[in-house]
Subunit: 253 residues, 2 copies
């Protein structure tokens, strides 16, 4: 299995599943994907796939089952509020084939945080947690997230999601962090593409990305991002990128 | 097939495939998904799924083949530049099982736009277009996008992507646009969740979404978004939402 091979090499792979009609309609612009990717990358967990699906149980269950078998972790955002369109917890229970009911630990957590708020049936809906899940503390608002096996279920509101990600992070197994170095040079990508391809060829296990940029001040520029888990491999590839940049500067002057 | 049923009801479904390691590492924050979703929604095309995959041919081909059979259109962003990590065009050709080569129409387009820029082998790489594809004009920079069958291939740089989306839009078949009305009220979602669920129950074919909000000035508030393709259905559901809001205001005063 891909996952086993990845783990043996110090890699831990993850996926993100964003749940919500409001993202797909363009009404709400997602701000969670970028944040989760940054935090996980720093922990040595590589996000390998993201999916956004609507508030439809079949779609959520299908995506969950496709992703949770393939990656070490799946992080979901959205759909854990008190209203009829919040169906993430029930979808996770169905994907795992486990029962779901009001969880007394979640109720206790909610009572502790908001002693004065009435626990209406709608609010108790937020305490519905699939059997076997561990709760994730919500230090910002009302209802907890949860982790069931390798699936981490978080809120969609960015501040709440960020708090939940911080709360669950210590329970996750990180990998060897990916190291990264960026070099820039003042030309179009096409001017150095062949030389850069040769550097990538030479350093097969190092990831070399090239990204075009433009600013009024600088005109066209190119960012070369070199990534590797082993410092010596990173250094060797960066040295070759720097030689490429020096050669290009000489030729252009 | 789901697509046929959807089309018969005036619905046109689409997916977005974002291609790029830089998004998954968190280094670059995607700004294309929200824009594409907004533009397509206005055209009556519903985005039903988004995926983000790394710069790996197997991943791109797998996602393309999963999505292009399922949706009326698939919009890709990223990976059409001149460097070795730009493998989208080749992946599309492989997904469709068609040959790919330097396309004379693309070369002509590039020469016309930048008569003074040398067409190096790397730049000619940007003119590699799968057989049978129609070009999409790039009014911002160098190389064209393309449309092959129901797959629309665009750049990753937001300004270029936006220009390509505008260029290809007249060729797309839009559906009956989804109409939308939003009403807000100054309470937590949990306070009106049951009443709102009853409204949704009553208006089965209207989509009613509920989104929590918080601001320093207003405190907690809730946005209720009602969506339907038929104006009369929309009006009827909005009227019931307004009655719910009036009842809630009465009770709270």
């Amino acid at each position: 299995m891909a996952t086993d091979a990845a783990m043996a090499s110090g890699e831990v792979h993850a996926a993100i599943l964003v749940i919500g009609d409001e993202i797909l309609s363009g009404r709400t612009k997602d701000r969670n994907i970028g944040h989760i990717c940054e935090v996980l990358t720093a922990m040595g967990i590589d996000v390998r796939e993201v999916r956004v699906v609507p508030d439809l149980e079949d779609e959520i269950v299908g995506a969950l089952n496709a992703l949770r078998g393939r990656y070490a972790y799946v992080f979901t955002t959205g759909g854990i509020g008190p209203t009829h369109d919040d169906i993430t917890a029930d979808s996770v229970a169905r994907a795992f084939g486990v029962p779901i009911d009001v969880d007394e630990r979640a109720v206790a957590m909610m009572r502790q945080r908001y002693a004065d708020v009435e626990l209406t049936p709608a609010r108790l809906r937020m305490a519905r947690i699939p059997a076997g899940a561990e709760l994730i503390d919500n230090t910002v608002s009302f209802a907890p997230g949860f982790m069931l096996d390798n699936v981490i279920v978080m809120a969609g509101v960015p501040k709440i999601m960020q708090a939940m990600l911080d709360a669950v992070a210590p329970r996750l197994r990180g990998g060897t962090p990916m190291l990264s170095q960026t070099r820039q040079l003042g030309c179009k990508e096409g001017d150095i593409a062949e030389a850069l391809a040769a550097v990538q060829e030479e350093h097969g296990e190092t990831l070399i990305g090239s990204y075009p940029g433009y600013s009024e001040e600088r005109g066209y520029f190119t960012s070369i991002v070199v990534r590797a888990r082993q410092p010596d491999r990173l250094d060797a590839a960066v040295a070759d990128v720097e030689r490429l940049i020096a050669r290009h500067a000489e030729r252009s002057s």
